[in-house]
Symmetry: C2
Subunit: 362 residues, 2 copies
């Protein structure tokens, strides 16, 4: 039986269109192999949308996204739009997309690829085999809590205020995403908080602990955020899936990503309750090398694999792509950002062709 | 001219008394060498105070501390007191001490000792030469901000709330400590915040930036906390002195400490505006090896060196102790926690004697 999916493509700015083209080619090849039919529809976001319509996320783009099974995003932004007011900047398009689709869960894998292990600043024996998924709450916590602002105190000085807050239902819905992700992975979930000091973390820990009863196949542990930052550095292999709030997740997902030493290889996913998820590389739009066929398309390709796994429940096809990426690296093919001595330097398109050759031969 | 200082010793619990005895011997030797006269007065804190008086910080102990030039603390806590109510536990003594002395600045050095570099989980070339001081605000921010608690929403569910707040004067006083520390060190200060999202961080950044005008000899930079967590892992040598708020400092000081791979070697300082500072090792009271002459006294000794440098302005004597510690490690002397093949295993007292021998010979 053929599976049919409508995919919205948001190539965005900079190297976005180049790497998106590779990911689309890869999806077509994999679709043929696994009897998956993709209907692709493209929409504008970021600087490209600003140039065409004056807005970083035109309403029609958001409608197109809503009217699809998953959204594959490349990258947005560039020097050209940096002087605009913040609500007109490319980044506002991304925030609007997250809000418009109600994307409350950010999934950030940090997996050491054996072929790139030397890129890590950590010792080989410490990072070999690291495969972490950080599930970060994305629409609550201190980045959104109120009151917030800069106020005047009674003594006439300024006081900056932000509020870290979570309700039980906010904790529960991100918890469910994390438990379900852990079920698909190693079956271990570590919830990170600061419950020894923060009341918001006590509620977080209580709610996650209660939720664990519904997921008896997942082994739950708890860790304080300062200790988690230490343990990621000391012994990252102890982690499988991590779930945490918006701020702690912002910090820890970046630290975990840096364990790999090659940010240019990392995909991410943002999921909501009912709307399609958005899948995108962690890296930016790299305007300095845009249009030069130098970009590394593999994080975009791995984002397409995440889309298959977490957005469309097509794990076999996702596995196939991820295996293909490992094999192409094993052949020694490298783009400039991950080149090392004795490897073959390829451009963006050639890397895509190499990968497709590998995927078709598998 | 002889310098006279009155030092309050708080040996506390577990291995505390053993490691404190070594630090006192070292201070006496160094005092003789540099014409510094120490008057030591001992007071109770933690479990030892609970056993003797029923309180983790008797008023008389706080008075003794106030009535001195600096406080040298070893470690507190142990299984024995873990079942007491939280305000009667040993840790409450430490919080009471910080509050009672108005200690708003926590100084956490993370320095790679060449002799222990292999203990790091990071590659030698990444951590060689790392020498970071994290200056953490200790009495404000989200650990103390109000409102805080768990409240009921209009829809009847629970909502956990904490408040991250800083006033200009709180930022200014921690800023001054950090700029002055940077002056004594490499002359570089990196202020860490999340000013792209948090208003409290915008005020932080503005105030620190203004303050920089008074310290033209210090090179100030700013970094977002998620990037700082990445950079500590990727290229820690870029940092000299870091200043940040309570929560971010809690996370980053632990991450920076873990770069060294040997928490058992790290000292810390907590400073106030006018009261004496408190100097203590980062490690705990290790009740499992207490009284067995197995403890590593070097973090306590290095805390005494920090006391000389930051509490008493006796940098030459501090340098002397720090050099001595390096030399004793260079000889191959190690306690059990930092032992490696072909090194000499020493107990706590023997390590103290070895260090004193080195210091007297210098
Ligand atoms: Mg981040
Ligand atoms: Mg901590």
């Amino acid at each position: 039986m053929t599976h049919n999916y409508r995919i919205t493509l948001l190539p965005g700015d900079g190297i976005g269109p180049e790497i998106m083209a590779v990911a689309v080619d890869v999806l077509k090849v994999v679709g043929k192999k696994f009897d998956i039919q993709f209907e692709f529809q493209e929409a504008l976001i970021g600087g490209a949308a600003i140039d065409a319509t004056g807005e970083p996320l035109p309403g029609s783009s958001l409608d197109t996204c809503r009217n699809s099974d998953a959204v594959l995003l490349a990258a947005i932004g560039g020097y050209k739009w940096d002087s605009l007011a913040s609500h007109l900047r490319p980044e506002a398009g991304l925030l609007g997309l997250r809000a418009g689709l109600g994307l409350f869960a950010n999934l950030r894998p940090a997996k050491i690829l054996p072929q790139l292990i030397d890129a890590s600043s950590l010792k080989r024996e410490v990072v070999e085999g690291v495969d972490i998924l950080v599930v970060r709450e994305l629409t609550g916590g201190i980045y959104f809590g109120k009151p917030k602002g800069i106020f005047e105190t009674e003594t006439g000085e300024k006081r900056g205020v932000n509020t870290m807050a979570y309700t039980e239902s906010e904790i529960e819905r991100i918890g469910r995403v994390a438990f379900e992700a852990a079920q698909k992975r190693g079956g271990k979930l570590c919830s990170v908080d600061k419950a020894n000091v923060l009341e918001v973390s006590q509620l977080w820990r209580d709610r996650i602990t209660k939720l664990a009863q519904e997921y008896p196949d997942v082994e739950l542990s708890h860790m304080y955020v300062d200790n988690a930052a230490m343990q990621l550095l000391r012994a990252p292999k102890q982690f499988d899936t991590i779930v945490t709030g918006n701020l702690f997740g912002d910090i820890l997902s970046d630290a975990a990503a840096m364990l790999t030493g090659s940010i240019g290889m990392l995909p991410s996913a943002s999921l909501g309750a009912s709307n399609p998820g958005v899948f995108e590389p962690v890296h930016g739009s790299a305007p300095d090398i845009a249009g030069q066929d130098k970009a590394n398309p593999l994080a975009q390709v791995l984002s397409a694999a995440m889309m298959l796994r977490y957005g469309l429940n097509e794990s076999t096809a996702a596995d196939h792509i991820e295996q293909g990426v490992l094999e192409v690296l094993q052949r020694g093919d490298r783009t400039g950002d991950i080149i090392s001595p004795d490897m073959n330097l390829l451009g963006c398109r050639a890397m895509g062709q190499a990968l497709i050759q590998v995927l078709e031969a598998k």
